[in-house]
C-alpha cells in the first residue's frame, strides 16, 4: 500500500488530495473567486494560495486521518499554468518532501486530469476531450504518449466562455461559465473547425462587435446570446471529438477539465455517443475541476513505474504540453 499526496495550484484553484493506492482518502479545495467582470491575475492568485495552502493541507490530512509521516510520496503540479501560483504549491511540496525525507514526483497537470478521469470513470482507453479555462484538447493514447489530435488554435473554450461572461458582467462565483443560462433564440455565430482543430477567438470578437446592437434593438436577449454561444462552441467540440473517434476507431469518450462539468456539453456528447454506439464517461465537479487528487493519481502511477523525480528537476514550467510526457505506466 502506498499513500500519495497531491498539491495542485496551477490556476485559481488550490487543492490538496490524498490517496491510498486507488482509494481517495481526501480531496480539499479552495477557490480564488474574483469580482464580476474581472479575471484572476498571477500575483493575487499566488497570494491566495499562500494564504490558504497550510489550512487546506491540514484539512486534507485530517479528512484522511493521517499525518505527513504516513505519506509515502509527494506529488505536485509542475505545469502548465501560471508561474507565480505554481511556485507556491511547488515550494510547499518541496519543503514537505525535505522535512519528511520523502520522494517527490513532478506531474503534468493535463496528465493529472486524464489519469484521474480514467480511474474515477473506469475507462481503459478512451478518446479524451479536455476542456477547461486554459485548455481545449482532443487526446488519444498511442505508443507511450497522450497525443493531441485536435486543439484550439487560439483561446481555450473555458476562456472564451469566461470572457464572454465578463463582457456581460455575470458573476464569477463559482465560475463565470457556470452562470450562462438558457435562452431560446439562436444567433448565428462564426463556427470554425479546421480538421480536428477549433478556433474560438472569432466568436468572441463577433460578439463584442454586435453585442450592444443586438441588445439595444431587442433582437436578442442576454439569455439568447449565452444559449447561442454555448450551442455553437459545444457543437464544435463534439464534432471534432467525433472526428477523432472515427479517425482512431475508438468507441469510448472521457470528458475532463472544468468545462466538462457542463451538463449541456455532457448531454450533447451523450447523444453523439449513442448515435455511434459509443460510451461516454464523465466525472462530476469534485473531480473534473482542478483538484489535488488528480495530481496524486498521476504522480503515483509515475512513481510506481519509474520512481521519484530527481530533486534538480522538481521545478515549475508555465508551458508543458500533454504530449511532452513519456507515459511509462501504460502499455
Amino acid at each position: 500500500m502506498v499513500i500519495a499526496i497531491g498539491f495542485e495550484g496551477s490556476a485559481n484553484k488550490l487543492g490538496v488530495g490524498i490517496i491510498r493506492d486507488q482509494h481517495i482518502l481526501s480531496n480539499v479545495r479552495h477557490t480564488y473567486v474574483t469580482p464580476p467582470g474581472e479575471g484572476f491575475l498571477p500575483r493575487e492568485t499566488a497570494q491566495h494560495h499562500r494564504k490558504y495552502v497550510l489550512e487546506v493541507l491540514q484539512e486534507a490530512l485530517d479528512d484522511a486521518k493521517i499525518s505527513l509521516k504516513d505519506v509515502d510520496v509527494i506529488c505536485y503540479t509542475k505545469g502548465p499554468g501560471m508561474g507565480a501560483p505554481l511556485t507556491v504549491t511547488a515550494l510547499v511540496a518541496r519543503t514537505v518532501a525535505q522535512l519528511y525525507n520523502k520522494p517527490i514526483v513532478a506531474v503534468n497537470h493535463c496528465i493529472g486530469h486524464i489519469e484521474m478521469g480514467r480511474l474515477i470513470a473506469g475507462t481503459e482507453n478512451p478518446t479524451v476531450l479536455y476542456v477547461s479555462g486554459g485548455n481545449t484538447q482532443i487526446i488519444a493514447y498511442s505508443q507511450q504518449r497522450y497525443r493531441i489530435f485536435g486543439e484550439t488554435i487560439d483561446i481555450a473554450v473555458g476562456n472564451c466562455l469566461d470572457r464572454f461572461a465578463r463582457l456581460l458582467k455575470l458573476s464569477n462565483n463559482p465560475s463565470p461559465g457556470y452562470n450562462i443560462e438558457q435562452g431560446e433564440k439562436l444567433v448565428l455565430l462564426p463556427y470554425v473547425v479546421k480538421g480536428m482543430d477549433v478556433s474560438f477567438s472569432g466568436i468572441l470578437s463577433h460578439m463584442e462587435e454586435h453585442l450592444s446592437k443586438w441588445l439595444d434593438t431587442k433582437a436578442f436577449t442576454i439569455e439568447d446570446l449565452c444559449f447561442s454561444l454555448q450551442e455553437t462552441v459545444f457543437a464544435m467540440l463534439i464534432e471534432v471529438t467525433e472526428r477523432a473517434m472515427a479517425h482512431v476507431g475508438s468507441n469510448e469518450v472521457l470528458i475532463v477539465g472544468g468545462v466538462g462539468c457542463n451538463e449541456r456539453l455532457q448531454q450533447m456528447m451523450n447523444i453523439m455517443c449513442e448515435e455511434r454506439n459509443a460510451t461516454l464517461y464523465a466525472t462530476d465537479e469534485r473531480f473534473c475541476i482542478d483538484n489535488g487528487v488528480m495530481i496524486a493519481v498521476a504522480g503515483l502511477l509515475q512513481y510506481k513505474s519509474k520512481g521519484g523525480t530527481p530533486w534538480t528537476q522538481t521545478t515549475c514550467v508555465q508551458r508543458y504540453r500533454t504530449d511532452d510526457v513519456y507515459v511509462s505506466w501504460r502499455k
Binding site: 490556476a11 486554459g134 488519444a140 481555450a156 479546421k194 480536428m196 472515427a246 479517425h247
Partner: protein
C-alpha cells in the same frame, strides 16, 4: 441512383455506392446530427455540401485528381460523385505497407512527393482543403507497380476527397494552418514514420509555383507552429 449499398458510415455522413446514369457513383448523405441545434445543423450541412461541391469543381478544373461531381441535392443533404474504383485509403496503405517495415524510403518519398505536389497545387489555386488527413486521400491501387519507373506522375495517383471543410478565398494564414493540421495528423496517425511530414513539405515547397508566396507561407507556418508550442495552458 440504382442498386445502392451503404459502404461507409463516416463521422457525419453515410456513403453509398450505386449506379447513376450508367456510371458507378458514390452518394454521400450528411445525416442530421441530433446533438446540435437543428438550425445550426441545417446551416452547417448546407455550407459543407456547397463547399464540397465548389472545391471539387475548382480542383478538378485545376487538374487535381478528385472524384468528378455528378449532382448536388441540398434538400436531401446529398452529393453524388464519381466512385473511385480500385483505390485504398492512404491511412490504411501506410499502416499496411510502411509502419514497422524496413526499406520503405522509396515508398515514403513517393507519398511525400505525391501529397506535397497535390497540396501545393490546391494552395496555388487558393483551395484550402480544411481537413487534410490520410483518411481523406485515396491512393490508386495500381500505383505501386508504376511508382518506380514513373516518379514524375506521383501526384496523379493521389485522389483528394472529403472537401466539406474546404474554403476558397484563402489567406496565407489559412494555408499555413492547413499544413499545420496535416503535420499534426500525420504525427498522430503515423507516429512510426515521423519523417513523413518533412517529405511532404519538401515537395510542397518545390512544387509551389509562386516562390515568393511560398516563402511567406513558410514564415506563417512557423508562426502558427510556434503559437501551438508556446500556448499557455492555464487550468
Amino acid at each position: 441512383m440504382k442498386d445502392s449499398e451503404l459502404i461507409v458510415q463516416g463521422a457525419e455522413a453515410r456513403l453509398y455506392k450505386g449506379i447513376y446514369l450508367e456510371r458507378t457513383c458514390l452518394m454521400k448523405e450528411r445525416f442530421v446530427k441530433n446533438y446540435r441545434h437543428p438550425e445550426l445543423d441545417a446551416r452547417l450541412t448546407k455550407d459543407r455540401i456547397r463547399a464540397e461541391a465548389r472545391a471539387i469543381i475548382r480542383a478538378k478544373s485545376a487538374g487535381i485528381a478528385t472524384p468528378a461531381l455528378y449532382l448536388v441535392d441540398l434538400e436531401r443533404r446529398r452529393i453524388y460523385m464519381e466512385y473511385i474504383e480500385n483505390s485504398t485509403v492512404l491511412k490504411n496503405f501506410i499502416d499496411e505497407n510502411i509502419s514497422g517495415k524496413m526499406d520503405v524510403v522509396h515508398l515514403l518519398d513517393f507519398i511525400g512527393r505525391g501529397l506535397g505536389t497535390v497540396i501545393a497545387k490546391l494552395h496555388s489555386m487558393h483551395i484550402i482543403h480544411g481537413d487534410l488527413t490520410t483518411s481523406n486521400i485515396l491512393l490508386k491501387n495500381n500505383s505501386i507497380e508504376s511508382l518506380c519507373n514513373n516518379q514524375s506522375g506521383a501526384e496523379a495517383q493521389f485522389v483528394m476527397i472529403d472537401f466539406g471543410l474546404a474554403r476558397m478565398d484563402s489567406t496565407l494564414e489559412d494555408k499555413a494552418v492547413d499544413l499545420y493540421v496535416l503535420e499534426r495528423s500525420l504525427l498522430n496517425a503515423h507516429c512510426e514514420v515521423p519523417e513523413l511530414f518533412s517529405r511532404v513539405f519538401h515537395y510542397y515547397q518545390q512544387h509551389y509555383q509562386n516562390k515568393k508566396q511560398c516563402e511567406e507561407i513558410l514564415a506563417k507556418y512557423k508562426q502558427v507552429q510556434a503559437r501551438g508550442r508556446k500556448r499557455l495552458m492555464v487550468g
